[in-house]
Subunit: 252 residues, 4 copies
Amino acid sequence: MKNTKIYYKRKIKFKDPIMIVGLPGIGSVGSLVGEYLKNELGAKRFASLYSPHFIHQTLMLKSGYTRLISNRFYYKELKANTLIILLGDTQAGTPEGQYEVNEEIVRFFKHLGGKTIYTIGGYSAGSHYIQNPRVFGVATDKYTKNALSKKGILFGLANGAIWGSAGLIVSFAKKNRIHGACIMGETSVLEIDANAARAVLEVIKSILGVKINLENIDKIKNETDRMIKELEEAQKSVQEGPTRKENFPYIR
Amino acid sequence: MKNTKIYYKRKIKFKDPIMIVGLPGIGSVGSLVGEYLKNELGAKRFASLYSPHFIHQTLMLKSGYTRLISNRFYYKELKANTLIILLGDTQAGTPEGQYEVNEEIVRFFKHLGGKTIYTIGGYSAGSHYIQNPRVFGVATDKYTKNALSKKGILFGLANGAIWGSAGLIVSFAKKNRIHGACIMGETSVLEIDANAARAVLEVIKSILGVKINLENIDKIKNETDRMIKELEEAQKSVQEGPTRKENFPYIR
Amino acid sequence: MKNTKIYYKRKIKFKDPIMIVGLPGIGSVGSLVGEYLKNELGAKRFASLYSPHFIHQTLMLKSGYTRLISNRFYYKELKANTLIILLGDTQAGTPEGQYEVNEEIVRFFKHLGGKTIYTIGGYSAGSHYIQNPRVFGVATDKYTKNALSKKGILFGLANGAIWGSAGLIVSFAKKNRIHGACIMGETSVLEIDANAARAVLEVIKSILGVKINLENIDKIKNETDRMIKELEEAQKSVQEGPTRKENFPYIR
Amino acid sequence: MKNTKIYYKRKIKFKDPIMIVGLPGIGSVGSLVGEYLKNELGAKRFASLYSPHFIHQTLMLKSGYTRLISNRFYYKELKANTLIILLGDTQAGTPEGQYEVNEEIVRFFKHLGGKTIYTIGGYSAGSHYIQNPRVFGVATDKYTKNALSKKGILFGLANGAIWGSAGLIVSFAKKNRIHGACIMGETSVLEIDANAARAVLEVIKSILGVKINLENIDKIKNETDRMIKELEEAQKSVQEGPTRKENFPYIR
């Protein structure tokens, strides 16, 4: 029984769609990149995905209305392609749910005539704040790997496993003969790592050939840098103080 | 596979049914309001919902008989509408179960010709006992929001997420073009908050245009108020005593 | 999708079958009673139930062979009825599994022409060893309740909820118009309470009108009584000793 | 709904296939034996099994590509039989998933004309390192038990339950009239017990009638022996030191 469903808000003609997947995950890199792209490019929502494998929550909006937990598809016409951005409140909560939801996402994208998917994630690298994050990649095929390598994405350095949508969507893309890659910003201790997101955005700009103003994310990045610096200096002057985590609850 | 089933105890003709959903949840506000309405209005049971997503328990009754864990539908003829009250021992225990059970509840209500659903819940507000609880709301549409605003329900102040039936039923109502709202009594530390329930009952009386004697719930409310006061005074005289929670296990 | 399956080992003609359900549970009362009856009456296995909702284990037998975790049906011809005894290694591990397995058990028994089911369980009563356990009951109907009351089973005293098969089978019996009751021996701290089981066996003997030699269970009961007595005396002479549980790991 | 699927990489003609199942488990004995056989015999992959009951992970490969978590079938032509080796990253994470995946494995093997399955596992035996591990077995039938006994496998000594694939595959083999046995190397404290794996490999060599060079696993075994010896001597000289586990995190 397929329980995960996608509803159209509006029907659109797509030209060679490319999809960027920006869902919640490590360092919130996926969400940050996806939301930023949507806002800066002015992408519009055209479909929503609902699933009983998402947590059973309804969101209360400031307007006094409600919205069911969902993943949402946005689109923006670029020169040669339609860009699709997938954002969401959550990912499925079980392995079975993850398989169902992510297969449905790829099936839907294929149905729209899609040829390439980039999922965005964070790559966890130790316990120190990363000042100059690298961008790692894994891809479904040689063509995609080569194209992304030229943009400065590092292949063959990341290892281990990717959890959830960022990995499964790439796996299901491969099965469906869609070009796919997971693009990961190097991150570490931060719950919301604007610095890692910024590094990924730089690369995405180049891949899509679009202009994106990075001023807003620069502000967050600079504020984070300053905060981390203060924190590190405070730590130096302490002999037997509490742990970093206890002092700064917004840091994991 | 749909496993959740509703059995009729008796078949009834409904006129423009309105449903109040009073299921277990925060501060037991939903259950308290639903049970109180059922008892004061003398509503009769006409259907029961069973689901394998409920906990696998059978209740032992004082009569020496048994009853399977369930949700139960009651009805009462009002002037212009049939009032339906949904009560229950429990809610579904998984996200998948929550989606199935709540979709089935809305489908059933729609099948009966229903037009409006109000779910009742508690809105968790800090860690101090709320002497004069406010009543918050979120709605599916402008019409419902305006109608309830006039009754003193506050829209746009509640934020965050509603867990379970109180939220999902409103979401599924919207999808089925049924007017819906979640009406929440402000509550905090109490497991069973008669005060929050009383505040919601005042509003419900006005919405339904029925007379409901609030004497019985006033007694519980006054007893709670007195108890909390004693507790607070006891706390003042203690320097290094145990926490409120340890002393008064009936308070969360 | 129904995944739970029952396989016949041999096909038998049943006359007005009565079923005793003795599955693992509180104080192991169900298992003890069921196994004892099977052994003393020389009942033979005729069917086995397998389910993916049971734990994923295969048992290693002393013979060097294996057996998949299961529930097993035994039969014994009595004067007027065929007695069916249901035993098992385990119960289903989720609510959904419990509903599926127990519905299948009742459906199967109905298919065999069954009219009456007694499930056996332990009724948890405080934290002291019960020297003279009472036998409590809950039933589906007046007829069954009256019949069992005459045998000394106490109705209307047990309250709360019955977990799992002992309760769900009675609930599903009722739905299928099969007479049903849950018969519970009073128990407390013991993991395996031969005393509670003995009390239930006395009643079952009378209900079925069969002779059952209780000597073997008497031995276990007497040994338990002696052990508990020693334990209590040891406890008296200790001021700051370890808890009962730590000293005697076979006691919960 | 069957969600577990097997995809062929290449179609092969099999002659009386025998399958060795080497999946992750106690002491990694199954994985070690399976991987070693595959490498030493030069077995080639011909099919892969994917399941939503596996953890929702995608592996990042050194090549810069990805691979979905899976179980994989390899084959090698022997004199009289085709040897099939089943390896995998993981086992299913729930009882329901275990039943589905293992039934599918046996169904697939039967479809290939398979007659005999040996699953490999570790048999947990106390908390001391086993210098000279024994090899235990349980089988589906007398024929298989006798044949394996002659190879030095000990029957009737192992007891308790086998978790997961190593047990369920033997159970489902029996149901499908396929000869089956679980062959277990005696193991204890090691996460990866090359010594137990070596003992099993000696027996497998003899069962399959193939030459396998054990030099490589001998090296690992000797290194482990040396390490354990050092550890034990270190322990002797310590009065109030940390536990073995804390000192040597690679030992369970």
